[in-house]
């Protein structure tokens, strides 16, 4: 799955022109709300949390409450069969 990350390593599904592109299998089959609630730190890079804790990549971690993201993904998967294939693509 192609994703884009901003300067804070937050994932996006669209590039606003300032982001970097990565391929991350972790996000295969995930809805936009789920992807955009995650942080991706590429291998060889670090990200510093607000409290000063430093995390090295490659790391994938939720940036918001995981229960919300899981609920979004479940709803997406439940609705997926109702969405015509040509629209999904």
């Amino acid at each position: 799955m192609k994703i884009y990350i901003d300067n804070d390593c937050i994932c996006h599904t669209c590039n606003d022109g300032t982001m970097r592109e990565f391929d991350a299998a972790f996000f295969d089959g995930k809805c936009a709300a789920f992807i955009e609630g995650y942080r991706y730190v590429p291998a060889g890079e670090v990200w510093t949390r607000d409290d000063g804790e430093v995390f090295a990549g490659e790391m994938v971690a939720p940036a918001v409450d995981s229960r919300v993201l899981e609920a979004c993904q479940k709803q997406y998967e439940a609705l997926l069969p109702l969405i015509p294939a040509e629209v999904r693509a």
Binding site: W47, R49, D50, D51, F55, E58, M59, A61, P62, S66
Partner: protein, 240 residues
């Protein structure tokens, strides 16, 4: 060796002791494993601003493995989950424990600790892998084949990660042939990393950290290597 003692102020029901060996326990003593003299200390959820050298930051959350009654009337309860000390201009992680009920209690939670685990692990491997199991002071995953290898250690029960913000995993990983990956992290099922993970190809023995501040609820910890010949050793998994 005890380097510094502080606290125990009037009305406060705690004492903070710094040193590289644990002192004799007295109820509500906080021991910080440090060789740097302790200045002041603060309990707070956010990083203190303008810290002085030696200052301790006791990071607090909504719950803790070792909640502390800090006043003598037992009416003020604090929930410490982590400890940092300001050393040479930077915050450095330190191990802290509290003496309560006749025993030292970790502030965080070890899911695995140098050969000891209360959690229990299940080990699986396919025919292209050599080993998956406990070996001395570590979890040992090994593969001799450069492709198709898969070895996993998965916690047998899920852990509520809500009180914790960081998972610190001490591990090493080698790769002698092929292209392989070692992964450690958390998922909604055993052996899965569908929630948060750290991944590498090789790593000299060190502690890597995973941001779990967004993980709310119960998740399974797992470690695995896939493809590539080599060894992965997991020495400890600590939540704080």
């Amino acid at each position: 060796m005890i380097h510094n003692m502080t606290g125990g102020a009037a009305g406060l029901n705690l004492k903070v002791v710094g040193g590289t060996t644990r002192p004799t326990g007295a109820e509500n003593t906080i021991w910080v494993n440090t060789s740097t003299a302790i200045g002041s200390y603060a309990f707070s959820a956010a990083q203190p601003t303008s810290p002085a050298s030696g200052m301790l930051w006791f990071k607090t959350a909504a719950s803790s493995n070792a909640a502390i009654n800090v006043d003598k009337k037992n009416t003020v309860l604090l929930y410490p989950t982590g400890c940092k000390q300001y050393v040479s201009g930077a915050w450095v992680n330190k191990t802290a424990q509290t003496y309560q009920g006749g025993a030292w209690k970790d502030w965080g939670l070890y899911l695995y600790h140098y050969g000891e685990t209360d959690l229990g692990f299940e080990f699986t491997k396919n025919s292209f892998s050599q080993a998956s199991g406990l070996a001395g002071d570590h979890i040992y995953l090994a593969a001799s084949y450069k492709t198709q290898a898969s070895a996993t250690a998965a916690a047998t029960s899920a852990t509520d990660l809500t009180p914790y913000s960081t998972a610190a995993v001490e591990l090493s990983a080698t790769l002698t042939d092929g292209t392989g990956t070692t992964s450690v992290g958390f998922g909604t099922e055993k052996g899965s990393y569908d929630s948060a993970f750290y991944s590498c190809t090789t790593l000299n023995r060190q502690v890597v950290e995973i941001d779990i501040s967004g993980l709310k609820g119960s998740y399974f910890f797992s470690a695995s290597r896939s493809n590539g010949a080599g060894e992965t050793k997991i020495y400890s998994v600590y939540l704080r």
